[in-house]
């Protein structure tokens, strides 16, 4: 038995975790760059699956769900994992028995959010002020299917809320940095290669 010795004894990840598995890969002029979602956003690196409108909507939604999610790179995080085969995706949606490809779910959900926002007051979600954005998210947050908004045209609103909220929590609190900001020690045995 190859027992791994004590905390942080292994710097790298073994056979199943190729280098950079925790980082996001970007291509720039033929070179592959590895970045955390936060670094990718700061550097303005491109997206693989989501278009500019979807990115803007997801960032606005993420920031409404949990302040800090935009800066932490929620759009790059989600985009990267939507570009992976579903078996390699690390998004919370994997737990919800929703059939892959997960991009279909996100794309339909983001479109539904904009459609719902537009029906409400003529503006897509990213153009709403903070108060209206909060009202819209509150309207889609109820787990009761009977409470789902009538103008929502997409995957179940409450599941879309649940999934994207979990993504926001992942990028803000699911990292060593985010955990330690709460005053909790991360205490890794093996540190992931990046502080997501």
């Amino acid at each position: 038995m190859a027992i791994v010795s004590r905390r942080k004894a292994i710097a790298g990840i073994g056979a199943g975790g190729a280098i950079g598995l925790g980082l996001l890969a970007f291509t720039d002029q033929g070179r592959t760059l590895w970045r955390t979602p936060e670094e990718a956003r700061k550097a303005g690196l491109g997206f693989k699956t989501l278009d500019a409108g979807e990115v803007a909507t997801l960032e606005a939604l993420g920031e409404t769900l949990l302040p800090g999610a935009r800066e932490a790179g929620i759009a790059h995080y989600v985009d990267h994992h939507l570009a992976q085969p579903s078996v390699d995706s690390l998004l919370m949606i994997r737990y919800l028995d929703i059939p892959p490809p997960y991009l279909n779910f996100y794309r339909a959900g983001l479109a539904a959010l904009n459609g719902f926002a537009s029906a409400k007051n003529g503006k897509i979600f990213g153009d709403q002020d903070a108060g209206n954005a909060t009202d819209i998210v509150r309207a889609i947050s109820s787990p009761d299917p009977a409470a789902a908004p009538k103008d929502w045209r997409g995957p179940p609103a409450s599941i879309f809320y649940f999934v994207t909220r979990a993504d926001a929590v992942d990028v803000v609190y699911g990292t060593e940095k985010g955990t330690e900001k709460l005053g909790l020690p991360y205490m890794a045995h093996i540190l992931p290669e990046t502080p997501w």
């Binding site: 190859a2 027992i3 690390l90 994997r94 955990t179 005053g183 205490m187 045995h189």
Partner: protein, 516 residues
């Protein structure tokens, strides 16, 4: 197609498959164990709730039809070597004596073909092999057996607070028995209580298969292959299996002949494979002459209860399973007015800020600045507990084949499952009881979570009567001499406890018969 043969081919490298592989290989048998997922090693188990998702199901989707949305198949199963036990929490209680005979005692469910005394020596042997930490004397509900080889796990503020709440209401508690070593044991180091169990325990304190029986199997010469997807069982005749067909890591289809085929995948994938193996010799699927394969599929129900305290609760410390337990038996010795059934409280599990059992998700209604404020407070003041509520068999709850197929051409599994009214009554009772405990413990706020299900049980029940079961008490499929099933799919009742320890005991009892 390449032919190869072995004495035993085991499909699924989780807890039960690994135990079979270890004992058979050590007895000098040739063993090939195939698993559809990746070949994890302990060094892959990074401490991250995000990365932990790699260890959860990544195979063919499972369809669901039912009256609830709390199935969580992908969360409750594993992907790759170690199976679900690679990320399981190692709550290892023994099944109650009554759970083996609910039909006889209470005219409900279906009786096991064996009783507690049949499994007792194997429970004892496994705990000596692997190490269980707990206090047998404090567990007044525990059936007779050898005391635990290790003292209980360390208790932290959350555990102390909630244990006091139970005691205040007159409900006895005990340290939660876990397959985690509280002290160095047989080369495995003591747990560090950092709550990373769900991400897999790379130091081997928790008894995941890579640190226990699978390691023994490999050392004894078992041939363990990852990324090997078994597609069907091959017949030799109506009464015998010839082997299996699988696709290997290079996407080549291969045929493997075996003296005995052991199916040790999940309670869903075992019946799926049997049903997908329909052929002229087995027109309804392997072992399905009586239309029992897939029937009586069960899910334990989970009642989640949370509280906030003024005191520091140290919620990040400990293990994912919990620190304390309280267990209530079936109807026999229950307080008047308590609904029928069995459940186990797992009290004070360690919590991370994120993920499916994390702090943020406990208040899924909150978002924005309210969510930030809640997580900040919860990080030091939340406490939680969960009741695992047992299930009884119902033949209409079942695993069937879908019309859709995976990319190997194998039909998908579809689960048809309804939670019955009695279970929902008990679920409501547990939530009320949990809130009362939180209040008694001094919580300033307490609340409950939505319905969730966990633990996949049944679908291929063991029994004496081939008309109402799929295997005998040793997991041997009725009517097919050399096809054996392993895992929690064999259980005729779930008992409201975590199944891993019991499925290991059943497997250890059964493997001896194969060596006779």
């Amino acid at each position: 197609m390449v032919n190869k043969s072995a004495d035993f081919v085991i499909v699924g490298a989780g807890a039960a498959g690994s135990l079979y592989a270890a004992i058979l290989a050590k007895a000098g048998k040739s063993v090939i164990m195939l698993d559809a997922g990746p070949g994890w090693i302990l060094g892959d188990l990074a401490s991250s709730q995000i990365w932990a998702r790699r260890l959860k199901w990544g195979g063919a989707p499972v369809e669901f039809r039912g009256n609830h949305h709390g199935f969580g198949h992908n969360l409750n199963t594993g992907w790759g070597l170690g199976g679900a036990a690679l990320h399981h929490y190692a709550t290892w209680p023994r099944m109650h004596v009554e759970a083996f005979a609910t039909r006889k005692l209470y005219e409900r469910g279906q009786d096991w073909p064996i009783g507690y005394d049949d499994l007792r020596p194997f429970y004892d042997r496994i705990q000596a092999d692997v190490g269980i930490s707990g206090d047998a004397q404090a567990e007044i509900w525990r059936p007779e057996g050898a005391p635990y080889p290790l003292p209980p796990m360390k208790r932290f503020a959350q555990g102390r607070l909630l244990a006091a709440g139970f005691e205040k209401l007159g409900h006895p508690t005990a340290p939660l028995p876990v397959g985690i070593v509280s002290q160095d044991y047989k080369g495995r180091p003591a747990c560090q209580n950092d709550g990373w169990c769900d991400a897999g325990c790379p130091i081997g304190s928790l008894a995941n298969p890579l640190a226990t029986y699978q390691a023994e199997a490999a050392a004894a010469g078992a041939d363990i292959r990852a990324n090997a997807t078994v597609k069907r069982i091959l017949p030799a005749s109506k009464n015998r299996a010839a082997g299996v067909v699988f696709t290997d890591a290079k996407q080549q289809e291969r045929r493997l002949e075996a003296g005995t085929v052991i199916l040790a995948t999940s309670a869903i994938q075992n019946p799926r494979l049997m049903l997908a193996s329909a052929c002229p010799e087995w027109p309804n699927g392997a072992g399905n002459a009586a239309d029992q394969v897939g029937r009586n599929f069960m899910l334990d129900s989970l009642a989640l209860v949370y509280g906030l305290f003024d005191a520091e609760t140290e919620p990040h410390m400990g293990v994912s399973a919990g620190q304390v337990t309280n267990r209530v038996r079936y109807a026999g010795d229950r307080p008047p007015g308590t609904p029928f059934g069995s459940y186990q409280w797992q009290v004070a599990p360690s919590m991370k800020p994120s993920d499916i059992f994390g702090m943020a998700i406990s208040r899924a209604d909150l978002f924005g600045s309210e969510l930030s404020a809640f997580v900040t407070r919860a990080s030091h003041h939340i406490a939680s507990m969960v009741a695992m509520i047992g299930a009884l068999p119902d033949p209409t709850n079942r695993v069937v084949l879908s019309d859709k197929r995976d990319h190997f051409g194998v039909p998908l599994a579809r689960v048809e499952h309804k939670v019955d009214d009695a279970t929902m009554t008990l679920w409501s009772h547990c939530k009320d009881e949990g809130v009362a405990v939180m209040k008694a413990a001094g919580a300033t706020e307490s609340w409950t979570g939505p319905y969730n299900a966990g633990h996949l049980i049944g679908g291929t029940l063991m029994g004496d009567d081939p008309a109402t079961s799929v295997t005998d008490s040793f997991g041997r499929v009725h009517g097919i001499d050399n096809l054996v099933l392993a895992g929690s799919g064999l259980f005729p009742t779930s008992g409201g406890i975590s199944p891993t320890y019991t499925l290991l005991a059943v497997a250890m009892r059964s493997v001896g018969v194969l060596l006779r």
